[in-house]
Every structure is written in C-alpha cells, then in structure tokens.
Symmetry: D4
C-alpha cells in the first residue's frame, strides 16, 4: 500500500509536513485532490526526484518503490470524456499499487456498439472499474457482460436532477446486475484500492 | 380521450357517483388504482355491460366506443416481471385510447441479449414506452437503440437506496440518450396517454 | 440527428478535438453548455464557416446541412424572462434538427390572460415545449388546454425551497394534466430532441 | 378561539381527559385527526350534547357557543375530490371560529373552465383557502386571479414523486403569484385558523 | 399593487427594458434581488427621479404614487441581525404597497426577555411578519403570544444542518402555534404582500 | 450502567436468550422498544422477580441493583402529551441508572406561561432533557433560560413536513441557544444515558 | 452462478413458473425475499427434493449442483443480532456459489474488544463482508484492520435519523478506510456475489 | 459565559458595533466565523488590548476576565488534520469559558492504534469532544471506550455522498454507543459550550 494524503481542508504547509514524514517510510506517497501550488511547494523542498503531478485529477505521486507491475491489467472504463479526471485518479492510484491498468473511454450506454468492441477484453479481466456520471447505467450493463467483480464509481458529471452525482450513485447501488459494488462519488482512489487488492490476490495466487 | 378517475383518496360512493356522471358522456371510462370492492359496487348498479377489471393494476375500464385500434403498435417494454402491474396500466390506458400495444417483458440490462432480439421491432415503432424499476437503466439503453421518442416510466420496484422509485426516476431524468422523457413513478397511465397522442398523430398524418 | 457534445467537464482541447472528428461526418454539430473561449478556439481553427454561438444558452452550432425546416412549428413556451436561456437551448437544438419553432415568452400562470391569447396557436401544434422555473405550474395548465403531447422542462430559476429546480421538476412529474412528460432540470436540449422526433413523425406521415 | 386537541399519539383515555378539562372553559372544543373510537368514548361519558363527528376528516366538534356566523364567506377551493377530507377539516375549524365557508370542489388546473365559473365569487372574498395535492398548481392560478390573501394547503394526495405531499408543498412555497402563504401538508386546521383571523379582522373593522 | 420584477436570471438590459415598460403604467415599480449595476443603468437612463436602491436587500424602488401610508403599522420582527436583509425586503415591499411598518430586531428565542418588551406592540397589530433563520423557533413563540395572523419568513441564515434555510422553513411549517402561515426561504417580498393585503382589508373595513 | 437490549429486528427467542445471559452479570437489565409478547415470554421463564413493563414506551426493566437514587433530579420536559412515550423511555432509563427524574409535561412554546411556572425548577438542575415533536422549538427556549447543559430529543410526533421527526431534529441541531446537544429522533434512552452521566459526575463530585 | 429470482412484486404463480423454467437448466436456484407461501407452493409441485427455506431471510434455495466448497472461508461480520437476516441472505447466496462462509456476530464498534478477538481470522481472509445498521461504523474499523477488500452491507436496522438504512449507507460510502466498497441497503445477496467472485479468483489462481 | 457574536450575514460595521456594546459588560467576547477584515476593524478602534484572531477557525477572542482555568482538561479529539479548524473553534470557545483543553489529532478509525495510545487519557476526562468528518465513525468508537458523556461534532470534511457533513451527522445521531449527543455540522462552538458546562459542574462539585 502507498502512503496517502487527502488534501482538501489542509493548508499547503500541513500537506508538505505530512508528506515529508510519510515519505521517510520508503513507500510510494500519493496526495489526492491536491493543487499545483502544493506540488510546487513539494518540488521546492528539493527532496523528491520522482515526483509527478497529474493535472486532470490533481494527484501528486512520489514513486519510491520499483516493483514490477501486475501481469493482468485492470480495465478502467468511462462513460464519457468528462469522467476522465476520476478515471485518471483511479489509474494513478492503481499504479502506485503496482497494478497495470487500461483506460477504455467514452463507451456510455447511449452507444452500445462502442462498448461491444471491448467485451472480450473486459471478460478476461480479474476485476473491472466502471466510471460514469449522468445516469450511471454503464455499471449495470457491464455487470451483465462480465463474471468478475465490478467496482463502480459514480461521478458528479451532469446537472439538475443529477444532484451532484447522487443520481449515478443510486443507479449503481440499485444495479440489477450482480457482482457490482460501489464507492463514493468521484472516488477514483477508493475504487482503485479495492480493484488492486482484488487483482493482486488473483495474481499472487497464480504464482 | 377516455374519461378518467384516479381512485385513491375517494370513497367507493364517490367513485361510483363520478363514474356514473362521466359514463353518460358516452366515452370510454377508465378508473385507475381502483379496488375489487369498487368494481363490484359498479357491477352491482347493473348499468354497465362492457365493464372489465384488471387484477394486476387494479384498473376498471368501461368500453363504450367501438373505434378500430391503431395500425402501428406501441411497444411497452419492461425490465422485469415485477414491473408488470405498471406496464398493464399503460396497456389498458392505451387501449382505452384505441391504440394497439405490444408487451415486451423481462428484457432488463443485466441480460442484454434478450433485448437485442427485439431491437428491430422497437426500431419500427413511432414511440416506445419503457417501464423499469431498480436502477432503471433500460430507458437509456433503448434510447440509444431507437430514433423515435421514448416515454420512460420509473417503477417503485426495488428496496433500500431505491427510495420508492426515486432512483429509477433520477436515472431516467439524467439519461445520456436523447429523446427520452419521463413521467411520475409507477405512472403507467400518463406514459400511455403521451405515447398514444404521439402514435395517433403519426398515424392520422399517414391517412 | 445532429452530432452533439455536452461540454462541462471537458477541457477546451478535448472539445475542439471531439468537434473536429464529429464535424467530418457531415452532419450538423451542436456543442451545448459551452463557453466563449471554446467558441473562439473553434473559430481560430479556421475550419468552420457556418459556426454560430448563442450567448444566452452558450451553445455552439455548426450548420452543415441545408434541409428545409418543418412546416408546422413547435411552440416553446416560457413562464418568465429568466427561463429564456433554457428555451433558447431548445430552439437551437430543434433548428439543428430542421424543426421550425416559435418562442412564446413570459406567460406564467400568475397572469393567465397573457397565455389565453396564445391558446389557439398552441392547440394547432403537434407538440408543445413548456419551460418554467419557480413552481412550474405552467406545464399543468397548458397540458389541460391542448390535446397534443407536452414536453415539460423545469428550470433552476428561483431560490430557497426551489431547491435548484427540484420544485418545478416535482410539479411537472405530478402534473394532474395527462400527456405531460418531463426532462431534466434546465435540459432544453433533450426537450427539443423529443419534441422534434414527435413533430417529424407527424409531418413525415402527412407527406 | 376554540380549544383544540391534536389526537395522534394520544391514548383514548388521554384525549377524553383533556377534552373534559378544556370543555369546562365554555368555549367550543375541537379534536382533530381523531377516531370513531374516541368519539364514542366521549359520547359515552354522557356529558356532551352538541357533539358531532365528521367521518371524512375525523374531527370531533363540541359546540358550546352560539355566536352568529360571519357575514362574508371564506371560499375553500379544492383541486379534486380526494382533497375533501382536508377541506372538510378546514370547514369545521372555521365554523368552530364562527366563520361562514363555501366549498368549491374539483376545480383543478387541468380543467380551468370549471374554475373560471367561480372567479367572481373568489374575487369578492376577504381571503381564500386553496386545498390541492398532486402538483398543487391551483394555488398559483388562484393567486393570480384574486387580490386578497390566499392560504394554500398542500395535500398528500398523489404518489411517487409526490413524496407524501412535499411536491405540492414546494409548488405552493415557490408560487410566482404573490399573496400566497402556505401551511403544513394536509393541515386544513391551520389554514382555517389563519383565514378566520383574517376574515374576522376585515369584518370587525366593517362594523 | 406595485409592478414587480424579480431580477435573478435576467440581464441588465432585460431588466431595464421591463422596468421601462412597467413604469409607464404609473404604479410604483419594485425590482427585487437586483444589483448596483442595474440600479446605475436605470439611473443613467435619466428617466426616473424617485428611484432608490437598498444596499442590504438589493431592491430598487421607483415611487410614482403618493398615497398616504396605512394608519396601523405592520411589525416586522427578526430573530437576529443577520436576518435584516430579508426584513428590509419586506419593509420596502410593504411601503411600495403604502403600508406603515415597524422593524423589531434581534429578539430571538435564546433571549426571550427582549421579545417580551415588545409583546403589547405585537398584540395590537393586524398581522405580524416574523423573519428568522437558524432554527426559526421565533414564529411559534410569537404565534402563541398574539391572536392575529402571523406570516413567517424562514431565512437562509445558518450553516450545516440548516440546509440553506430548510431547517427554519420546516420549523415554521410544523409550528404548534395556530395562525402561522409561511412563505419561501428569504422571501421578504411575498411575506410583505400577504401582510399588506391583510392589513389593508382590516383598515379599509374600518373606514 | 445497566445492560441494554434494543429489541427491534430480534425475535422473541433471541431477546430472551440475550436477556438471560445479560441478567447473569447482576446489573439492571433494560430492553427498549420491546413488546408485551416479549415481556410475557420473559415472565414465563419464572426467573425474574423485579421485572416491569411500561406500556407507553414498551420498555422492560429488570431491577437487580438496589442503589440509592441521585439527590438532584433530572427534569424531563415535554412539549405535548403525545411526547410522553419518549419521555417515559428516558425516565425508565435514568432510573435504571439510579437517577431521580421529574416529568414536566405539556409546556410547549405555543403557551409559554405554562413553561414559565417551571423556570426555577429547571434552573436548579444539573442537566435538562427536552422532548418535543412538531417544530421542536422548546429546546431553544429552554436552552435560553437555563445555564446547564440541555439534551434535546426530537420526537416523530407530527405529520407532513414533519418528515417523521426530521423537522424537530433540524430545529434542535440549529438551536440558536448554546449548550444544547441532540440525540436521535425518539431516542429517549440515549438522552437519559447522557443526562445521567452528567448528573452523576456533578453529584459524585459534590460528595 | 446460481439462477436467481428476486420475489417482491411477483405473484406466487409467477415465481413458481419462473422457478420451474430456471431449474431446468440444472444450476442451483435461489429465490430471495420470498415467503413461506411461495416455498409451500414450490414444495407442493413435488418436483424439488433439495429445496430449503430460511426463515430469517426468507430465501429459498434449490441445490442441484454438488461441487466442493471453497477452501478459504469468507467471514460475514455483523454489528448486532438484528443484522442477522441480511447476513444470512449473504451466507446462503455464497453457499449457492460454493463458497465456505463463517458468521461472526455482534461485534459492533461500541464493544471493540469482541471484534479484536477475531482480528487474526479476518486478516487471513481473501475478502470480508461487513453487515451493519445503525451508524454502520463497523465497516471503517474493519477496513482499517485488514488488507483485503471489504464488501460493506448497510442494513435498515435502526430508526429515526437512520432513514431506513441511508445513514449506514452514507457512512460506508464515506469510509476513511480504503478498500471498502458498498452494496444496497439490506442487500446481502449482492455482497455475497461480489465476495464469492473475489474469493473464487483468489482460490482458482492458487490451484 | 462569554458574550458571543456569530458573524456570517453581518456587515463589518454591524459586528464592530455589536462587539463594542457587548464588550462593555466586562465579560470575554467571542466572535465566531469572522474574518481578518473584521479583526482589523476592531483592532483599529484602538479599544481592545487582549484581542486575538485565530486564522484556522476565524475566531476573534477578547479576554477581559482573568479567571483560573479548570483543573481537569477537556480532550478535543479529531479524526484528521482537516478537522482542525472546527476543533480549534471548540478549543478557543472552551478557553473563553475558562476550561483547560487538550487537542488529540488525527486518530481516525482507519488507524485505531493511534487512538488506543490515548485511551487512558480519554477515560479520565469528565467529558470528551469528538470532531470528525467523512463517515464520522470516531464518535461511536470513543463512545464505546469511555464512560463519560461524549459531545460529537460532525464536520463538512469530505465530498460526494458526504453531503456537506450530513453523512457524519447521521452517523453520530445513530451511534450505537450510548452517551453520545450531537451538535450541528462544524459547530465547534456549541460542542465546547456543552462540554464546558459539564466539566464545570463536575469540578465545582468537587470543590
């Protein structure tokens, strides 16, 4: 497991101090929902070499471990382009946990043919992450196509009766497809942790 | 248009009295969300011959007009067997408006293959009614498959975070497929009125 | 159908890239909830001639098809001036689908006489779009006056117990007038798609 | 003011005891949301002569004062027949406060012509009570037709997105017509108290 | 009645244009929830002399009628200083309707002694407006102290479980004191219209 | 502390078994939200002598400890008679914790004079429990009158916008009086535990 | 995967008919949220030998496959005795999927010592199911103790601000422990499917 | 008790004026949810010497009383660093009431070992304040570890299904540990007042 900092509500000084103390343990360090300001403050300490900042999801990752990636890849599927920031948070988190991932974008249910091109790939996975806003129906559809666990991430993409993501969240919780479990709205991080733990056990077992 | 009575909150006496006065206009009369008790009270008046009662949706229909049914049929699609009462209310309402209908049951998104057998039939319709509870994803999927208007009816089938049908309602309102409009939870009646008006205009026009 | 991009949550670069790939199909392209910045970026590519930007609803429309407009017009009725941005999104969308529209503004239920001047016009339509915020009562009143389908669009105009448009949404979903179906809050786009599909079928049929 | 008991949550014994102690003050006594069981228990005490029970709204009224009714009448307008229990609670309460009332039933907005027959009557009142469930649009329409205060009572008549009356409540609170104020769902009692106080002052003043 | 414009969602140009057309009728014109920018734009037209702008509640009032104020005064009671903007909107609205008002500030229920100094004044009124945020308990307490109608205005003052004023709104709707009716959150305007209509009838009657 | 069983969701057999195992520890045993059936089943075991059942709040108490009651009494104040079941649960719980209590009933804010007779008594307490439904304003008023901590219990007494007690809960959470903390709706038990712990420490300290 | 029927909203005849057609495929058949009436109707067909009915969770299971159970066991942990019906649904579902399970009951966070006795057992699992109502804190605590995925099931055990399980649901979705994903309220079935798929892959891999 | 001003919704001028009038009473004065601008305005009056401003929680404190602090300390426990602003508001409030406090930070339930180091300290307190956002489970865990009253403060730290702190609020209200009572979201002030009143009585008693 990487060390993790959830940045909102913390001052830049507080994040830098916590980051420093966590980094000393030697694990990867991940700061989610960060800002460019915090990234620069960390950079300016001059302490970190492998420090990267993702501008879409505002995550900072310090790689301190050089373990090989998993052999099987975790598909991260999004309904639309607007779901990319959340999918990217999932991708970076999984990488911090040494898991290979594969982004499959823009395959929402209004155009099922795009999804069907990817079915085989999805069916060979140990676990699938589905990221969708608006009505979030993609999780149910994928849940019906695969026989591995699906981790569903509702996003706040949408407006009005979307209620800041509550609509997609409820959709996923009520999924008529079995094998779907759900994390908090926009929580790419948590989805990736669950998926990584699942993928890891399936792989470790295979060794 | 048939004469319509929404029964909840009315005493049997009130319904019978209203029914009598409406029946005298000579149109079909439809009493929704009724009860067997009300049906028997109407029966016992001895006034009505063509009086039928549907036990699934508790609707009473008095047919007084013998107009031919529409040529093209309105598909009424349900996600599951539990959505049948609502679909039946839609069916009876459409019939009271002289529209042919076709029930397509149990084609929820967790098993898309069952839906795909029906695609051609759906694509040839002037309008489609989709009835679904749980997460209500079926409306979006069908919306993406047809190019006619879709009237979506969320049902209260489900439990917990289903919130009495609110989950399916929100799903349908946030549908990423265009051409989907929505009626109240379990409101098979209103969906059928909208769909009948659409189907009628498309047909009338063709004459 | 035009090609459509929902802009929120996408970077300017992403929208431009998607716009380019969609434009190549030769259909009209519509980008909703856009921004002047995106419009300028598209303009600056020098690729598009018939590119227009509506400042009220922030929609970008690229007209690439020169089909004749529908003969019958779709009335788009608003309760107040503040509902105009949503009504305009509906108008532009309908036009992108080759439908004639007619804006009827500021005829909210607090002054029914203004509405009554327009009743004949409404009663001759194949479908009516009603756009209203605050308590959204206009949809029910119009639903009682016409015998064609009504597509109701709740808007977020209002404050307090308006709950960002939820109040008008609930009003419309519970409409005691039949033949009213509803789209998401502020979703002028979706209302126009449904209405255009209805109007088209009624007209095509007449040919 | 009459003495008033709100019965739910109280045992029959508790209501009888409270009723007895209140009756001794000599004012009218009103027990709302009561039951036939409580009525019989009061009857059986043999203490009360002018005791009446209304079966629709479950109110018990003991008339102990013989004051003349107000000269001007308070119109109590309902959207539908199912709103009658609440309208009746309002009627009985107003009578307990010596106010004349006039029930105007079943004039919901889906059939405005029925309402328009009553406009003159409404416009001559000092205050109007509007009782409506479903989407509750009637309050706004009447608010736009009269220039006296309107007391709006949302009812729980409806289902699904009606949310037990919340939909009508929100509609009334967001009314675009001015001069409309609102009481709790199904609270015919409180509407009648407010309206009676208003009517009384307008009349007293005239003496 | 004054002419009224609700400004949010309207451009400055739209407000100025509407204002101009309403002003020509010769009545007072009130623009609520306006802005200094709109006020200046109106000022700059050079058309209006008696134009005032209230900075607390952002209302613009054009006085074109010189009628005498009512003899009896409407008390506008606030729980705290933060409720003043809403109370001021009520005050200006009442004045535009030629009603005398009296602000009684900062008498919230946590310090009842401050309220008790004002009881006599409240008890001599024809109607009382109560403006309160947080838990909004003041309306119930005043409702128990006076025997005239109380118009309660919940405000959005507060945070957290205040839910933007919903807490105070619910409190007032559930008031155990009778004779309390409620308007939308922060809706000082509507409270003043209701109260003015009541006060006017009580006074007119007295003439 | 007594041993406690929360009965809902448990079968009679389960409650009896748990009760038996807890009783063996020698402490008082309290079963809340129980039923007469469970009480009889416990009675029928023949094991318990000091077993009592309160019919109002459905609590079963087995007294096995004979400690003296506290010297100072905890006032349990209710707004209305319908709040008595919750107040009684608090009373029995406090007694199971060896605290003296005093019920002060029916002193809701619509009639403040009844409350004012009790002020001195309230001001001499170490802690006060306030039990109120409807709008729950009593907690704020008492919080403003005493300078000891107030434990507020919202009850589900009411209807409509009361939302099953949510209204009173929000009122109490937003109390403008300081020193008020809140427990779950109808949770007389938890209020009594908090109040007893407070009273105990204040007394122990005095010894 | 077993064949599964969700019974609510279906008539006994419908369930029996669906059961029959599913049973013919030769897999295990599971009917959740059933009733004794349905069980007897199935029994009476005389077709099924290995038919069992669980009275706590109302599930019917027809075992038609005799595969060996998994080697590693899935712990199903409950906060309290009242959560047992949901836990039992999970247990039966997992067994229908050939997974060994282990019920660990009544280890809620108010008494952490009972949980700590089980930590080792939990830490050796491939996946843990946590079933908790009230405030649902147990999922977070266990999530912090193990490094395998946790499937959290909120239950509707509780009252008042529990909101029918919404409280526990939100708790689990907002868990500060990573690796926790959530299913619908009371959905023991779905939790077991997810957990079984995870456990299976981990085991299969080991073979 | 200190004099207290809740600043939101008040202009700088209003706060300064209120502050001045309260300061003349000679008690400590606390202005919560203030701003640096207000602090400077007060500073610039030149009237106050012991005026401090806390930048984390934006509180202004004027110390005018030099009473000794309490002997026993009130632990203020936070789940994470982001909860510090609320904890600091509690700390300053308690100090304004002459109570000693002790901040115990970052001991959330995902890492229980950090909490367990502090158990003894918590168990020796008269009252504990728990400040937690996200899922707010810490209150239940601490409630199970101590036998003194716990005042729980939900914070708005979190996102998505956190609903601005509602999730943590519900968690705490439904706590399965007894002796926990709750204040409004982010209301460090009110928690500190309750806790100070409790601590004071326990101490006073000991003298």
């Amino acid at each position: 497991m990487p060390e993790v900092i959830f940045c909102p509500g913390k001052t830049t000084e507080q994040v830098v101090e916590i980051f420093d103390s966590l980094a000393q343990k030697g694990n990867n360090v991940l700061a989610t929902r960060s800002s460019e300001e915090i990234f620069k403050a960390l950079k300016n300490t001059g302490k970190y070499q492998n420090l990267m900042f993702d501008n879409l999801c505002k995550a900072i990752l310090l790689k301190q471990q050089d373990l090989p990636l998993s052999k099987s890849s975790i598909p991260i599927v999004t309904a639309g382009t607007s779901d990319l920031p959340v999918a990217t948070e999932a991708k970076i988190t999984a990488e911090a946990m040494h898991q290979k991932t594969e982004l499959i974008c823009d395959v929402g249910v209004a155009g099922l043919h795009r999804l069907f091109d990817k079915v085989e790939q999805l069916q060979s996975a140990n676990v699938v992450i589905v990221v969708a806003g608006m009505e979030g129906a993609l999780a149910s559809v994928i849940g019906g196509l695969v026989d591995c666990p699906v981790i569903a991430v509702p996003t706040s993409v949408g407006y009005g009766a979307n209620l800041g993501g509550i609509s997609a969240l409820l959709t996923m919780l009520n999924s008529c497809a079995s094998g779907v479990s759900v994390v908090n709205i926009d929580n790419g991080f948590s989805a990736a942790v669950s998926a990584s733990l699942i993928n890891k056990r399936a792989e470790d077992a295979n060794d």
